[in-house]
Amino acid sequence: MAYERYHISFASAPNRAPPVPKFMIVRADNCVNCGKCERACIYGVHKRKEDDPRKMQDPINHLCKNCFMCIQECPQGSLSMVPGPEYNALGRGIWTSLRISTIWSESETGRIPVLGAGYRGMFAGPGFDGMWTDMSEIVRPTRDGIHGREYISTSVDIGSKPPWLEFSKEGEPVTSMPQLIELQIPTVMDTTRLRASTDEVLLGFARAARRLDSLLLAAPGSLPEDAEAELNSHFVPVYPEGTDIRSILLPKGVRMAELPFTPAWKEDAKRFKSMYPNAVLAFRMRATKGLEKTLLALVRGNVDVVHLVYDEDGMEFGPSARRHEKDSLKAAHMALVGKSVRDQITLIAGGGIAAAEHVPKTIICGADVVSLEKALLIALECRDCVTCSLGSCPIHLKGASAEWVEARVTNLVGAWRDQLLEVLGAMGLREVRRLRGELGRAIFHEDVERESFSDIEGGASRG
């Protein structure tokens, strides 16, 4: 078989819903229809009415790019600009309107967002916003600079890796090799917590997962039949709590399954492995305070994969002292490293992945694989309304075709992978596996505040 380099090809998947303008141009009554705004605007916001060219049309707000030229040139002072109210109301928590609209455009075009002018946001923030990734002035991943990005590997493995190999006297390897699933991207798709979906949407996700050589995590029976059939080995059934292990019938071709983490996990694992010795078993666990200890116990019990689940803002579950994914994963990773067992377990982390940079940051903090959840729905132009009812869905999710869903998700994952390559390239790394747990190649807000400002009155204490 000829070698083929992994590549994600994009195709434009235009928005279906009306755009949500960031800015609104308001034209006051004293406009004299002189048309200076039409000449001043290079984006085509202002046009004359087609049926009555004596008058100006209402401004086409979503084309406005905030340059103020029309306002500046208006001789009557008739124009003003206000931030788009609908845009400002988008999203909640870490899912800000900027992140949501960025995901929309990434899903539409598959392109990396590139803009002029420097950074415009807050200095730092909670969670992943308090973290910067390192770069290197002279070390590069390949000798080809920016044109060598295709040589950077983003492949990851799910399953345990034996710490060493043993050979017989004859030099033949005798270590039994565990099941290992190699993915070409460090992201999998998890549909189990999505607020809404339709058969077409799930079919689109399934096709995207297959095309991207990723995995689709879904409750058994939740996928339409054709989706499951098309997915085949890219399907990971996620069994809900209370499933009788003995009743599990893995669909044909499935390489991996997720079981809920319960106090009876040891017996469950044993039973499952005796039934399906060739399948990778993952325990799905809600991340809570003290998960480090549980993870160490799981490693001792020869569990290969754990899927840590955070809430949609990337926080742990539990009544109090909930940590952000960043700190929680760091603690888990360091605990495993401390016992020299880190490579015996694969950590999948999901929840709170709202932007491209969250993928490398989650991996730096210690995850091997990142699972995408809410971002998949946002890719379909979801407005993140509080209540979700398909009947009143503002984007008519019901009308989304599988082809369109597949294209949107492929674009999003592709754009995020390209941005992962940017981060890896800047760090001089040539594979994402090396990024896992590279805490020394990240800069944490609390650390640099202490290092740089501790001698300043009111600055972080040296502590």
Binding site: M69, G116, Y119, G145, E457
Partner: protein
């Protein structure tokens, strides 16, 4: 110290008020005069701020000048125009447009204050909230413990810095602690480059070509233009190196560390392509990093190469702010650099991936003290000129950088804001900047006139210098070099001016 003053004693430019009527379109407040106005002129005689003006001989009063209005809180005053108007024709409200301008780093008031300084050359009071942004960290959380103002004579104070502290080679001293950062031809128009070069000449400081070659229009200003050699080596020739007093190696840029320059295809017009010796309308991504540099020895080879082409130029090395930025700086010094220029993560750019701006490499505020202390420990601090850039927006940001340990700063975005940039951030593609600054479109680049622009930048520098003099006098200093490393004068916390809600 006295020597330096003498060496730098050039005649500093005076403020030259620059008409900028078209930039009145956005302000904090909007004053509206209804048609019922009878042009009696009472408001003009009452308002002490000059919002209303009546020209003798004119039938009608002039439209209100919103910029001077202090807003509805004026109602407590006896001269409040709205209450006094006999025909109730006046109203004052918060401007809707104002809320669409700027962002947490460049707040709308900071943009307007920079425009005002560029227009008038008058400094902003040091405790004014427009001196800091609202990004909630870094410079926006560092404040000088400001003593009371004292009378000062700007001519008696020195804001000059030395650019060559190695003890050999040409001595270059600039009268203000800043020079202009690299902006390539292609990312900005030749008029923008010229405006910056003219302002640099007026202030006897520098501006930089950026990585897109050396347009012939800049040659008359060659003593004030730094030639940049970046990884793409666009338009770098022997003669461009030979004509410069300073040559800058750009290893990385703060806004896109580790990525190399981006010039998207639309902006690579035939003139730009000719300058860069590239194919028109192709996207130009500079490689990263220098393909000939794998180590500090290779880096030295680079500097030696420039030195052999132009033995009388100073060597500046522009690097980003990775974790090991202090090692990079020391390495640059030992390789022969005169100027180590740190470009922090929040710096400006003509085009960069959004992911890189926020997430890759640390903000400059952290890098300066790190490098300063390391150079002190290494015993070479007095031989290096350490310049900071990347998210320095105001004179106070520059002063804070110096207090954190830099010798001076490199300025980019503020120059553009002086040229009427509104920070809309659409410089990267299409026809480029609709305001005629960051564009090479043959129509758009005529919007901005380089003489006008030069005066505005020059005014801004003048206003900044007065701010630095004010600060130095309050702190009992006469030279800006005394401020270096004085972190004891800083306080970390929220902005007192903002809390009071001025």
């Amino acid at each position: 110290m006295g020597d330096r003053k003498r060496r730098c004693a050039s005649v500093l430019p005076q403020q030259a008020p620059t008409p900028s009527e078209h930039l009145r379109f956005v302000n904090r407040f909007t004053v509206t005069r209804a048609d019922t106005c009878i042009s009696c002129g009472l408001c003009a005689s009452l308002c002490p701020y000059g919002v209303h003006k009546r020209v003798e001989g004119h039938a009608k009063i002039l439209p209100p000048d919103d910029r001077k209005c202090i807003g509805p809180s004026c109602e407590v005053n006896y001269f409040f125009c709205v209450a006094n108007c006999p025909t109730n024709s006046l109203s004052i409200r918060k401007s809707e447009t104002y809320a669409s301008l700027g962002d947490p780093r460049w707040t709308p008031e900071m943009i307007l204050a920079t425009w005002a300084m560029a227009e008038t050359g008058k400094p902003l009071p040091l405790d004014h909230q427009s001196n800091t942004g609202a990004s909630g960290g870094g410079f926006d959380k560092l404040h000088f413990k400001l003593p009371e103002p004292r009378k000062f004579e700007p001519d008696e104070m020195s804001t000059a810095i030395e650019l060559n502290r190695r003890g050999s080679g040409p001595e270059i001293c600039i009268p203000i602690p800043i020079y202009g950062g690299g902006m390539s031809f292609g990312s900005v128009s030749v008029h923008t480059m010229l405006a910056r070069a003219k302002a640099a000449k007026a202030w006897d400081t520098f501006t930089c070509t950026g990585e897109g070659g050396y347009p012939a229009a800049l040659v008359p200003y060659k003593d004030h233009v730094i030639t940049q050699i970046a990884t793409g080596l666009f338009g770098v020739r022997e003669e461009t190196i030979q004509r410069s007093r300073i040559v800058e190696f750009k290893y990385a840029q703060g806004a896109k560390p580790g990525l190399g320059g981006h010039l998207l295809h639309d902006k690579n017009t035939p003139e730009v392509a000719r300058m860069r010796e590239a194919v028109p309308y192709t996207s130009l991504f500079s490689p990263f990093p220098f393909h000939s540099v794998y180590s500090v020895e290779d880096h030295k080879k680079h500097l030696d190469w420039v030195h052999s082409i132009n033995p009388s130029s100073l060597l500046a090395v522009k690097v980003s702010t990775p974790n090991d930025v202090e090692m990079v700086s020391v390495g640059s010094y030992y390789a022969g650099a005169h100027i180590v220029h740190l470009d922090g993560g929040y710096g400006g750019t003509g085009a960069a991936p959004e992911i890189a701006k926020k997430n890759i490499a640390m903000p400059i505020e952290y890098a300066i003290p790190k490098v300063h202390r390391f150079l002190v420990k290494e015993g070479i601090r007095e031989q290096v000129t350490l310049l900071a850039s990347g998210g320095l927006r105001t004179a106070m940001d520059v002063a804070k950088s110096i207090a954190l340990g830099a010798d001076g700063a490199v300025i980019g975005t503020s120059d553009l804001v002086a040229l009427s940039c509104v920070r809309c951030g659409n410089c990267e593609s299409g026809r480029g900047c609709p305001r005629g600054i960051a564009t090479t479109d043959s129509t758009l680049d005529k919007i901005m006139d380089s003489e006008w622009g030069a005066r505005r930048i020059s005014n801004l520098y003048g206003a900044w210098r007065l701010q630095w003099c004010d600060l130095l006098s309050r702190l009992g200093m006469t030279e800006i070099s005394e401020l270096r490393g004085r972190t004891d004068l800083l306080r970390h916390g929220d902005n007192p001016a903002r809390e009071v809600g001025r």
